[in-house]
Subunit: 412 residues, 2 copies
């Protein structure tokens, strides 16, 4: 895309009403816009980033057998009364003109469970793994960290349905691995830790994936020996020692929860009386697991981790464009070469932003750093003298001259 | 995908609470599920169809220069008060715990206009064309036609911003052509007509795209001479004659509105005081157009038009899978060949549903007709005797024997 055609513009000053790094940089770079507290719009480059994250998540969910669906955000009261969750404070409620009451979905157990109940009647129909990538709403008083805690937010939520606990346990481990793969592909491998948290009614612990960042709202204790995190909420319960290896030398860190997985067992199948006929002909309650990742939150976490004083540093698989071409002079021969290169990269399917604007070199460099595209290619009179361009990776400090013919070897 | 793994199942009986063809067939085929009046879930095959439609729309919007964004569904009251539309009856309203009032978006002029105002200040920043594919909510008392009229529904809404009327007029014509292209690619070319409708405050007429179907809720008068539609609401105003060619011989038809386009001019830029500096340095109001297509409604319209007594007939570009393989016997040699073919088609990137279930031939044929995948391939002992399979297009009545080696020539 030509940058002159992009309707967003970068901003030098930090927004006054944002404290978090992710909100400041994403707004200044033109990725998102704040409509109101906790509610953001994804602008063209922001949406491209979200789509990258969405595709990574989709690939990994499909790989473990997930079937994608799309459920509504508007829920009838009856579904939530069944499970006794109609009065959850964070749930938005509204009334229709027909006097019926609805809520806006902040999670979807109450919708997935009776939906699957329509199709599953025998052990032969199990297991089922199904997920959606969908807009959620939470009446959140603490929304203040940009994309890290939204009132409206995109989420991937998967629900699994099983005939027995062993099958649930097996799949639960598969999801754990898939989640690590997702965080790795997003560039958060080093900072993200499986974390024990409070388990609720049925399990001793649930599991969170916590990414260490100074702007995190959670506190975890990290075991340096086995790399397990322990959420502060259970640190007394585990007597200040790692429940996995016994180590007592734990480091307290701030972190942000980028994913969570739960064994629900029959918590939601029971109120809906969702049963299946087993091999022995006996009816039993279906067992469930649920597995969440917030897409916007993940995008925010990537920015919190990968930035420097000049802007964002997008990662290998998460970026708005892969290559950013800057043509430095107005001179027509330079523009011509830059255009040619832009056409060539586009032709090869390499997502490229081409800064063709009538701006100073300084402004173009500053914008490129702020926007944070992985590869910056500078085309100027000087580089063209040696039939070359200057390529610099956003996370490296040195640029190198590369012959025009060799560019694809660098950016592909 | 193997059909044995698909969690949905087909249903023989029509749902009791649905009157429209689209709802009956889509529910029976396992494409959608009704959560409550006007609110549907997209199940795996339904979501695949929606994604096809989404991609067609996205391609055509990008082709005319559209920049995709994603705006929130939750809107602060203030935006809607500015334009005097806070009291629109069809708008859902809700209150947060912080006592602030919100509405759920049923259209997005009130959000796009102030957003673009942040980036556009000069004639050099214009025109801008921006769109989203997003979930909308309308407190609809008439929701009763399946996907044709939803309370929650997916919509593509584009908004264009211009410096002068000529530019708006030019782009408006481009959108018209893009819309025809979308309806053509969805298989609705023959049945869809540009229709004059009431124009609102600023234009004499607005334009709708109406698809002729007996389940339509609209009534249009069709001019056989020039193929223009006239919405009933303005038929008196145009004195029962075609406003384009003067013909008085008009046919009354039932139809469904699959798209609409509006010249908004300064209707929304004025209340937000959204101005730009012109070439002469004078400040002027930005002119706007808006352009909508409902994705679910389009899917519903495709089903209303393309079906027979046995089920849905998906079109060339809109389908859940392109090929449906049916293996008819439990015999291992037949299964082996069917599996091999399935693997081969998957490998070539051809989306294939493979009916590997332990069901009778009759059931498999009935399901294939109901689901309506464009190409049905039958693998049986008999066809394999001549090293062949039987290929039948869903919209044709005769099957033909095709050599195993030639299959790709037929389905690619």
């Amino acid at each position: 895309m030509k940058q002159s055609e992009l309707f967003t513009k970068t901003v030098r000053e930090n927004p006054k009403d944002e404290q978090s790094i992710n909100a400041k940089l994403l707004i200044r770079g033109g990725f998102i816009d704040k409509l109101t507290r906790g509610v953001y719009s994804y602008l063209p480059m922001g949406l491209k980033v979200i789509k990258k994250i969405e595709n990574i998540i989709r690939q990994e969910m499909n790989r473990i057998g997930g079937q994608e669906v799309l459920l509504p955000a508007l829920h009838p009261k009856e579904n939530w009364e069944k499970t006794g969750r109609w009065n959850v404070e964070e749930m938005f409620k509204l009334k229709g003109r027909d006097k019926r009451e609805y809520s806006l979905g902040w999670t979807h157990e109450e919708i997935f469970t009776p939906l699957l109940q329509k199709f599953v009647s025998s052990y032969k129909d199990l297991p089922v793994f199904t997920y959606q990538i969908q807009d959620k709403f939470r009446d959140e008083l603490r929304a203040k960290s940009g994309l890290l805690r939204g009132i409206e937010f995109l989420m991937k939520d998967m629900y699994s349905f099983h005939a027995d606990e062993k099958d649930l346990d097996n799949f639960y481990e598969k999801v754990k691995q898939a989640y690590f793969q997702i965080f790795k592909r997003c560039g958060l491998e080093k900072e993200t830790f499986l974390t024990y948290a409070s388990g609720g009614t049925f399990s001793k612990y649930s599991h969170e994936f916590q990414t260490i960042t100074s702007y995190g709202e959670d506190i975890i204790y990290l075991c340096d020996k086995c790399n397990l995190g322990i959420n502060k909420e259970i640190i007394k319960e585990v007597k200040n020692s790692c429940p996995q290896c016994g180590n007592k030398d734990l480091r307290q860190m701030k972190s942000i929860e980028v994913g969570n997985i739960f064994k629900l067992k029959d918590k939601y199948s029971a109120p809906f009386n969702f049963k299946f006929k087993g091999k022995d002909g006996k009816e039993e309650l279906v067992l469930m697991g649920c597995y969440g990742i917030g897409l916007g939150r993940l995008m925010g976490a990537v920015v919190e981790i990968h930035n420097d004083e000049n802007g964002i540093i997008w990662t290998d698989e998460v970026y708005p464009f892969k290559v950013h071409i800057l043509s430095l002079e107005e001179e027509s021969s330079v523009k011509k070469e830059a255009e040619k290169l832009y056409a060539e990269l586009k032709d090869k399917g390499i997502e490229t932003l081409y800064d063709d604007r009538d701006k100073s070199a300084g402004e173009k460099f500053a914008d490129a750093d702020l926007i944070g595209i992985p590869y910056r290619i500078v085309v100027s009179r000087k580089t063209l003298e040696s039939k070359s361009v200057e390529i610099k990776k956003r996370d490296e400090s040195n640029a190198k001259l590369v012959n025009l013919q060799d560019i694809l070897n660098y950016v592909r």
